[in-house]
């Protein structure tokens, strides 16, 4: 459905590695500060068409639509 996104977690970008437990399946990238975190998230989102979401605990999720979902839906 075009208006109903079906996001999947593509990767996790965090400034605190202890906030993310291993073995979840998604790629985890650890940034040294918030500026680097924003930069990494921006570059990845442009590369793979991902949306960025802030969990407000130092962890950012990057999500992509499932392959059968619509490309114009965001968020």
């Amino acid at each position: 459905m075009a208006d109903a996104p079906t996001p999947q977690i593509f990767c996790v970008v965090t400034t605190d590695a202890t906030k993310v437990a291993p073995g979840g399946g998604a790629t985890v990238l650890v940034a040294k500060d918030e500026d680097e975190q924003a930069r990494i998230a921006m570059w990845i989102s442009r590369t793979v068409n991902a949306a960025t979401h802030d969990l407000h605990n130092g962890v950012w999720l990057l999500t992509v639509n499932a392959p059968e979902g619509g490309g114009s839906a965001g968020g």
Partner: protein, 330 residues
């Protein structure tokens, strides 16, 4: 179809029928403002199919009068052809969706393809009525009957627009709790990138869609209709979106939690013209799949709202102007 020795054809009926059918098809061709049909191929295709339908409709009556009964089989052939034309049109539109930044959505496409088929049938029917009237009542009255049939066909194909059921007004774009995008008090989505948030605040536009009636509310609850509204908005003012920037896509969301039927649209336009955006949304056609719905819309449970004394909950308890208060339980 006709061999030598049969009665002379009623040319007046045929010509009046053909003309009425052609006029009907021309009058019901959608305007180019909605980018469908495309110019010139789309227009030529639709006009030609309409001409064929009008010819069949105008020819049937004189043929049957001349006792050429096989002419009736042309009607079934026409039905089959128009049906396959509709399928083809749907496939073409669905194929275009992959290369469109803001899609029309399956409901809108289905509506467009159905319109394509039904308006050809309508042209044929108008041609039949006009030809029959001319054959039975002579030319003058036949032309009058053709005009009445033409007016009736235009009335039949005129659907309502979103603006008749929904009030569209500008809204304030803001972020709450750091990353939650709001238009007035309608939450749309979470935006994690600071750069994206800055661009949305500087260049984004938001409109609030308030239903004038339960009909308007059921229109907004329909996902296909919301996608159509988004598509028309993007077509009117453009959208600063490309592959790789999913958070900049326009979207429409209902006010949640405590829904009261209000929705909001956010868009990053190329042309920041609020009037143009409002007009485009108001002129978006109401899809047929929505028109047929007349079920009670979800009713906000007042007891739940009254316990919530947050600003959002208090505003929901007061309700927007124009919304019919229903006591039905959902």
């Amino acid at each position: 179809m006709s061999s030598g020795g049969t009665a002379p054809a009623d040319w007046a009926a045929l010509i009046v029928g053909l003309s009425a059918g052609l006029a009907c098809r021309l009058a019901t061709l959608d305007r180019d403002k909605r980018h469908y049909p495309g110019w010139p191929s789309g227009y030529v295709t639709q006009f030609t199919m309409g001409a064929i339908a009008s010819l069949i409709g105008g020819t049937i009556v004189p043929a049957l009068v001349a006792k050429e009964w096989t002419a009736a089989t042309f009607l079934t052939l026409a039905a089959t052809q128009f049906n396959s034309g509709r399928q083809t049109e749907m496939q073409v539109l669905q194929g275009e969706e992959k290369m469109t930044l803001v899609e029309r959505g399956p409901a809108y496409i289905s509506g467009l393809a159905s319109n394509f088929q039904s308006r050809n049938f309508l042209a044929m029917l108008v041609a039949v009525v006009a030809a029959l009237g001319t054959h039975l009542f002579k030319l003058d009255l036949g032309v009058l009957i053709a005009i009445v049939a033409l007016v009736a066909s235009m009335w039949l194909t005129s659907g309502s627009t979103v603006g008749e059921h929904v009030r569209v007004r500008p809204g304030i774009v803001k972020f709450e709790k750091g990353t939650l995008l709001f238009v007035d008090d309608v939450m749309l989505m979470e935006v994690g990138l600071p750069h994206s948030r800055e661009r949305m605040l500087e260049e984004g536009m938001g409109v609030v869609l308030e239903p004038r009636s339960p009909r308007g509310e059921s229109i907004l609850w329909n996902l296909g209709q919301r996608q159509a509204i988004t598509h028309e908005a993007a077509a009117a003012v453009g959208v600063q979106q490309d592959v790789g920037y999913p958070e900049q896509s326009p979207l429409v969301r209902m006010r949640m939690p405590y829904p009261d039927g209000t929705a909001a649209l956010f868009i990053l336009p190329v042309v920041p013209d609020m009037d143009r955006l409002r007009r485009a949304i108001e002129h978006t056609p109401v899809l047929e799949s929505v028109r047929s719905q007349n079920w009670p819309v979800p009713h906000v449970r007042k007891s739940r709202i009254q316990r919530d004394d947050s600003p959002v909950g208090m505003k929901a308890a007061n309700g927007p102007a124009g919304l019919v208060e229903s006591t039905s339980k959902s």
